[in-house]
C-alpha cells in the first residue's frame, strides 16, 4: 500500500471521524467538569440534532444551513431536559442524575423513532466523488466537517478564555464553592452550559450523519468512543477532548490493520481501559472523578 493510499483510505477518514468524536467529547467533558456527572443522553441528543437537521433539509434547506438551526433547537431541548429532570435531582447523589440521563436517552431515542421511523436515512442521495488535491482525495462534506470542527473549537476556546461568562464556567468547573462566593450565579452557568452542550450534540450528530447515514441508534453507538475521548484527554479539558477525539477516531480506522473490521468499535473500549489503568487523569491531567 502506498503512502497516499494510507492517507486517503485510513488517516483522513480517521481524522474526520475523530473530529466528530471531538465535538461530542467536548460536550461530555463540559458536563463532567461543570455539572459533575456522566451524561448518558449525550449520544441520543446528537441523534435528535441530526434528525432535526434532516427535517429541515426535507423542508428544502441545504444541509449546512440546517446545521445552525438544529444546534439552536437542541440547545433549547437540552435546557428543557435539565429543567425538567436533572435540576430536580440536583440535591440528590449524582448517580441518580446519571441514571436519569440514561432514561432521557431512551426517551429522546423513542421520540426520534416515532417521528422519523427506524430506517436509515441520508441528507443527500447519490454518490459523491472525492476531489483530488495533489493526490489527497477529499469530499466536500469532509472538508466542511473539518472546517466546522475547527470553527467550533476555536470559537469555544475563545469564549471560555476571554468572555465574562466563559470565565464563570471555568471558575465553576475549577472551584464551585469559591465561584459562588465570588457571586457567580450557579443557575445561569448551568443553563449556559446546557445551551452549549446541546448545540455541540447537534453538531456532532449532524456531522456523523452527513459523513455516513442517519439512523435512530447512531448517537447511542458513538457514546462509548466519545466518553473514551473525553476521559483519554482528561476530564474537564476542552483541548483534551479534541486530542482524545482525534486519537480514538484515528485508532478506530487504523485498528483494521491488526483486528478484523468487525472489532473496530472495540478500539475505543480498549483505549478507555488502557488510559484508566495507566493514567486515570487523562493525557492532559483532568479531574479525578
Amino acid at each position: 500500500m502506498s503512502f497516499m493510499d494510507f492517507l486517503n483510505f485510513h488517516l483522513v477518514p480517521g481524522i474526520v471521524l475523530g473530529s466528530v468524536y471531538a465535538v461530542g467529547a467536548i460536550g461530555i467533558t463540559l458536563v463532567f467538569g461543570i455539572l459533575r456527572f456522566a451524561h448518558f443522553a449525550h449520544g441520543d441528543m446528537a441523534t435528535l440534532g441530526a434528525f432535526i437537521a434532516l427535517a429541515l433539509v426535507t423542508a428544502g434547506l441545504t444541509p449546512w444551513t440546517a446545521l445552525p438551526i438544529a444546534m439552536a433547537a437542541v440547545a433549547v431541548v437540552a435546557i428543557g431536559v435539565d429543567k425538567l429532570f436533572y435540576d430536580y435531582l440536583k440535591v440528590r447523589p449524582k448517580i441518580m442524575t446519571v441514571m436519569a440521563s440514561l432514561g432521557v436517552a431512551l426517551m429522546l431515542r423513542a421520540v426520534v423513532q416515532v417521528v422519523f421511523g427506524v430506517d436509515p436515512r441520508t441528507y443527500a442521495t447519490g454518490i459523491v466523488r472525492p476531489d483530488d488535491y495533489f493526490g489527497l482525495l477529499l469530499r466536500d462534506r469532509e472538508l466542511y466537517t473539518l472546517a466546522a470542527v475547527v470553527l467550533i473549537v476555536v470559537g469555544l476556546t475563545l469564549f471560555l478564555r476571554h468572555s465574562r461568562w466563559g470565565k464563570a464556567m471555568r471558575a465553576m468547573s475549577d472551584n464551585p464553592d469559591l465561584a459562588r462566593l465570588s457571586g457567580v450565579d450557579n443557575r445561569k452557568v448551568t443553563m449556559l452550559t446546557w445551551a452549549i452542550v446541546g448545540a455541540l450534540c447537534a453538531a456532532s450528530g449532524f456531522m456523523l450523519g452527513i459523513n455516513n447515514e442517519l439512523h435512530s441508534m447512531m448517537g447511542w453507538q458513538v457514546l462509548l468512543p466519545m466518553f473514551a475521548a473525553a476521559i483519554l484527554g482528561g476530564v474537564g479539558r476542552v483541548e483534551g477532548a479534541v486530542l482524545g477525539g482525534l486519537i480514538v477516531g484515528i485508532a478506530e480506522e487504523l485498528s483494521i490493520f491488526i483486528l478484523p473490521a468487525q472489532y473496530k468499535a472495540a478500539t475505543a473500549f480498549v483505549l478507555l481501559l488502557l488510559i484508566l489503568l495507566v493514567r486515570p487523569r487523562g493525557l492532559l491531567n483532568g479531574k479525578v472523578l
Binding site: R164, K167, A168, R170, A171, S173, D174, N175, D177, L178, A179, R180, L181, S182, G183, V184
Partner: protein
C-alpha cells in the same frame, strides 16, 4: 459606631448550635483576631458573619444595617469579602483571571482595582499569567486575598490565612494584612498561631466552646496569665 457589631449570636450548620452567644465588634481600620483552642467555633463565628450559618439568636449589624439573615452574595455586594481557609483560589486559572473572578459582580472599568491589588502584591505582577495552582503556598494566599479585595470591601474576613505556611511567609502575610488595613479595609481574622497573631493585631477575642472567653487589645491578652495558660502553651 463599630463597622461590624455581632451580638450574642447563636447558631450552627445543622440543628445543633455551635455558637452559644458570641459577640464581636470590628471598628474602622482595625485588625481583629479570633483565637482559641480547636473546636472553639472560631471559623464558625466568622462564617456566621458571612451568612454561611443558620443563625438562631442574636444579631449581626454591618455598617448600620442588620445583615443577620442575608445570603452570602448579598453580603458581598454590601462590602464584606471572605477568604476561606482551603481551596481559596481557582487553581486552573491565571493569577489575573482569579482577580477578574473576584470582581465578577462589578461592571465597568476595573483598572483601579487591579492597580490597587498589584500594588499590594507586587510579587504577583510578574506572575499574573501563571496558573494560581502552580504558585507557592504564600503566593496562593496572596492571590486569595487579592481576589477578595477586587470588590473593594470595607471588611475582609480571613480564615486562618497562615495555616501551613512557613514562619517567613507567615510574617509576610501579617505584613500584607497591615498594608491592606492601611489601605482602609477593616480585617477580621481567625488564627491558629495565637501568639504571633495577638502580637500583631489591634484587638483580639479568645473563644472557647462557642462563647466569648476573653477580649482586649492583643498586648493585654498576651500579658493575661489565664489566656497564656489556656491557649498559648504557658
Amino acid at each position: 459606631m463599630a463597622l461590624l457589631d455581632m451580638r450574642a449570636v447563636r447558631g450552627g450548620y445543622g440543628d445543633a448550635d455551635i455558637l452559644h452567644g458570641v459577640s464581636i465588634t470590628v471598628g474602622e481600620r482595625e485588625i481583629v483576631v479570633i483565637v482559641g483552642p480547636n473546636g472553639a467555633g472560631k471559623s464558625t463565628a466568622m462564617k456566621a458573619v458571612f451568612g454561611l450559618l443558620k443563625v438562631r439568636g442574636g444579631s449581626i449589624v454591618f455598617d448600620g444595617e442588620d445583615i443577620t439573615a442575608w445570603a452570602p452574595d448579598r453580603i458581598v455586594q454590601r462590602g464584606i469579602c471572605y477568604v476561606p481557609q482551603v481551596d481559596n483560589v481557582f487553581r486552573e486559572m491565571t493569577v489575573h483571571e482569579n482577580f477578574e473572578m473576584g470582581a465578577f459582580l462589578r461592571r465597568g472599568d476595573l483598572s483601579a482595582a487591579f492597580d490597587r491589588v498589584y500594588g499590594l502584591f507586587p510579587d504577583l505582577k510578574a506572575k499574573r499569567k501563571n496558573l494560581a495552582g502552580d504558585l507557592s503556598g504564600g503566593q496562593r494566599q496572596m492571590v486569595a486575598m487579592g481576589r477578595a479585595l477586587m470588590l473593594d470591601p470595607k471588611l475582609l474576613l480571613l480564615d486562618e490565612p497562615t495555616a501551613g505556611l512557613s514562619p517567613k511567609y507567615m510574617e509576610q502575610i501579617f505584613q500584607i494584612t497591615r498594608d491592606v488595613r492601611d489601605a482602609g479595609v477593616s480585617i477580621l481574622l481567625v488564627e491558629q498561631h495565637a501568639k504571633q497573631a495577638l502580637a500583631f493585631c489591634d484587638r483580639g477575642y479568645v473563644l472557647a466552646t462557642g462563647a466569648n472567653r476573653h477580649e482586649g487589645t492583643g498586648q493585654a491578652l498576651l500579658a493575661d496569665r489565664e489566656v497564656a495558660e489556656m491557649f498559648l502553651g504557658g
